[in-house]
Symmetry: C2
Subunit: 534 residues, 2 copies
């Protein structure tokens, strides 16, 4: 369309004179239906406001009351117990956004199309967008002005190579500006991030105490799991509170040089969460989207130095070295434009890291590494030390190559676990005994179908099994790996143990294992090789 | 994701033994909320089935009862008057699809991802798809297995030049196979179609009686308006019933050689309607989508010869001759692959055709042309005669160039109106007097702001004003043009009259006119020119 739609407001008609008597007033009603990311408005079919042609099925409406307004999808109702004539129902989160009482008067109008719809249409037509176009789109995305259809159109139209690297920089910049931007008034502010896809990869919970103990500022705000069986925030939540008011979070960082909290309260790059709500069901994770998502969060959090972990392997997000190098160069280009010092490391992503998959199992592994327990998974320890070493090397006073031994000294000396305990106390500790973790009591084991060497562990399938078992919502559910790549097993040896707390979850996990156990047993020479730095 | 999700069924747990007691049974309940194209299932938050991790917010579920199954989006409810524990609510159309009574036992399972999701992901990754891929996708689209997000991803990923012309042919073929395919056991079976975008362009209602009176088979099934103020079916509905059982429709065509009915009952290319539900809000109408949409409907209807009208003009869908020629070649390529004889005509799309915009106003214009009334709009008459002439020339016994005069003789002699009256009687006539049409009684006129020549009429804005006035739902609402391109007007002369039946509609239309009246007044030399065949 070349011209913008005219957005009229519903007017009431005086029944006696037939004349317009101003915008129609409806009584707001909270409808206790949880429609999640989509605001829904419910209007009775016989309501005079609905009859107008402007209010057609599924068109978006704008509801105004008390100085607030929300956009919502319209559903038409034929049941007066849900909404009556003269009432306007709102789904739960939409009602909360209005901030008024049940019965408050509201007006309803046909929603204006989002201001950035012209820019979206130009991108759909294959045109290149400028910084102001991305600003307009991201503002509308952040303010929930886009429908699911428009959001999907944006993420698909910016998928693959549809954005050039300059546009990726614009998108990143626009995403940063749409939320809060922290300034810690010192340098370096160090952070690390992994592009994801490897279960059990909880290095942040080791790196933050090591780096903070070294004295570097490391304000790590973490996400909850999106498609994985545990995020850093889910795992940390086994040990401490993670949903802290933003001011408390800042105080903790200033006092302890680090934190391990959920980033949701900080409002950093809020458009990211909205875009993920459509990227996830499509399994879309294009380089442009990954770069904008990760760098916008980190730069908004005030980071000046970032160590980025790109794991490669047959079931990792990135499956070959050329692909990893191409992604690295895009990250580096955008980071340079944003004046972020970026250190990309390409790591072994052939299998899960550590033994446990799921919040409590991963918290157990982390605490064992911190306490230098002989049962600690060595791969997790080594990877965390190497990444922490890289971060420490961003201090001006550390020589290249010395970071690893500094990190190892901090861990071995107990300074890391002491720092971790400080952070746990500051965030509000929870009871957790890693020697006797209260794991889900319903279990089954998956056994080797034949003798041989473990030559394949499918990251995706193991993550799926852990999720079906209940992780991350059920903290003590998940998968405990009893063998890793290269291990020799006899037929009938347990490969891993599934923990669940509810019979239906156990059944879901069992059905997933029946489809594929996620392990291959073969010869030693069948173990895939990757040539990575570490 | 490289592996398919395992789709588990929700199992009930025996409260005493903690053991699985088979798939959980819930009582179906009709929830009287109209969610339109989206099936929604409502489950109480405390329902044991919901607690399982598999049933997360907004995930798709599959509901089975009585041998039927539907896929639905899950909403969680906290109000027992809407659904109670142990009940499974379904939105209105979803409930109807189940074909059971309230309270019928049903099971609910996590929905399997659509079978074609792998092909969709390959197209999102930029790969070329084969015929079987398109068949799988279109089957899932037709059977409502795709969510709005997946549908949008498909239409955006096949937008612009993402499909090569061979893929457009595959898509067209797959769309035909997904529905009913008619065979009239004779040749030629003639049809005409316009790509749309020009208000008042009701040539079909003239061409069908002319061509059928000539003796050619012309089984014209029409659509209702999608974004326009009237489709052929909406306009014909002023004169006769258009929603006929498919068998009656076939009988009428065999008896009268033509019909003017709504195509919805014939189930021709049903995926088209589903795809349009997301293309429309995005204003997506790429050449590939247009070709597959139009040709699949026509070929499924058994047409062997098609005259295709591509109007060009500053506010038409196609705005330049090179663009029209490019579109023409794509239509011709796919038509040739499908063995459809196609005749493309590029026509003047600078302004609406005829005077009326809206079902009753357009029916008035059509009947005046058929009755050779001096008040008939000459542009509509001329365009219809030329298109009918082209169709008649597809008869083996008509010489090239003779079609127009044959069509004119049929119209002038009264044979066309006689054929139209036969079709109206056969479909079931309604009372309509074109001399005294019962137009919407609430009116206002838009007057020329200055003296000059009408040098621009915005098709999009006039369509929008007619829609706000109530068309096509309110049959007697719309816009009646009192001047056309090139007409001289004085300041204050009426340019057009708006008709509405409801005060709120009149107000909507008035607000739209305040934004833009859609007419430009200037000098005679400012009238845009197009060089088209007719």
């Amino acid at each position: 369309m070349s011209t913008q739609e005219t957005p009229p407001t519903a007017h009431a008609t005086c029944p006696e004179t037939g004349k317009d008597s101003g915008p129609a007033q409806l009584a707001l009603r909270r409808v206790r239906i949880d429609t999640y990311h989509e605001n829904v408005a419910y209007l009775h079919r016989d309501c005079e406001v609905y009859r107008a042609e402007g209010f057609k099925a599924l068109s978006k409406v704008e509801i105004k009351a008390n100085g607030h307004s929300v956009l919502a999808t319209l559903n038409v109702v034929d049941d007066e117990t849900i909404v009556a004539c003269g009432e306007l129902g709102l789904s739960k989160s939409a009602f909360e956004q209005m901030g008024v009482e049940n019965g408050h008067q509201a007006t309803v109008a046909q929603a204006e199309p989002p201001e950035s719809i012209g820019a979206l249409h130009r991108k759909l037509a294959g045109e290149r967008l400028g910084l102001d176009d991305f600003r307009a789109i991201i503002t509308d995305v952040t303010e929930h002005h886009y429908s699911k259809i428009e959001l999907t159109a944006f993420v698909v139209a910016t998928n693959r190579d549809e954005l050039d690297r300059e546009e990726v920089y614009y998108l990143t910049q626009a995403m940063i500006e749409a939320g809060r931007q922290l300034d810690w008034h010192e340098k370096p502010v160090a952070d690390k991030h992994c592009i994801g896809g490897i279960p059990g990869n909880r290095t942040s919970m080791l790196i933050v105490p090591i780096v903070a103990a070294h004295g570097m500022l490391c304000p790590k705000t973490s996400s909850r799991a999106i498609t994985s069986p545990a995020g850093t925030a889910d795992t940390m939540e086994v040990l401490a509170h993670v949903e802290l008011p933003f001011e408390q979070l800042q105080d903790i960082v200033r006092t302890h040089r680090g934190c391990l909290a959920w980033g949701g309260t900080a409002n950093l790059s809020p458009a990211d969460d909205v875009l993920i709500s459509v990227e996830r069901p499509l399994s879309l994770d294009s380089p442009a989207q990954m770069v904008a998502s990760i760098l916008s969060k980190k730069i908004a959090a005030g980071s000046t130095h970032l160590v980025l972990d790109i794991p490669i392997g047959p079931t990792a997000k990135v499956r070959s070295m050329p692909e990893a190098q191409r992604l690295r160069r895009l990250f580096e280009y955008v980071a340079k434009r944003m004046k972020l010092s970026l250190d990309v490391v390409i790591t072994d992503g052939r299998q899960p890291v550590g033994f446990g998959i799921g919040p409590m199992l991963e918290a157990r592994d982390v605490m064992r590494v911190l306490e230098n327990d002989p049962r600690a998974p060595n791969d997790l320890r080594q990877k965390a030390l190497r990444l922490a070493g890289r971060m420490i090397e961003s201090s001006p006073d550390v020589r290249g190559g010395d970071g690893f031994s500094i990190a190892r000294d901090i861990l071995d000396s107990g300074r890391a676990v002491a720092k971790m305990n400080d952070i746990i106390q500051a965030q509000g500790s929870k009871f957790f005994d890693h020697n006797h973790p209260d794991l889900g009591a319903l279990t089954f084991e998956i056994r080797a179908p034949q003798a041989g060497v473990v030559c394949g562990i499918d990251n995706l399938q193991l993550a799926r099994i852990a999720r079906f078992a209940g992780a991350p919502k059920v903290k003590n559910a998940g998968v405990d790996l009893l063998s890793k790549l290269g291990d020799e097993v006899q037929a009938g040896d347990a490969l891993y143990r599934v923990h669940a707390s509810f019979p239906s979850d156990l059944e879901f996990a069992r059905q997933a294992c029946q489809k594929s156990i996620g392990y291959s047993i073969g010869r030693a020479e069948d173990v895939p090789r990757v040539f990575v730095e570490f």
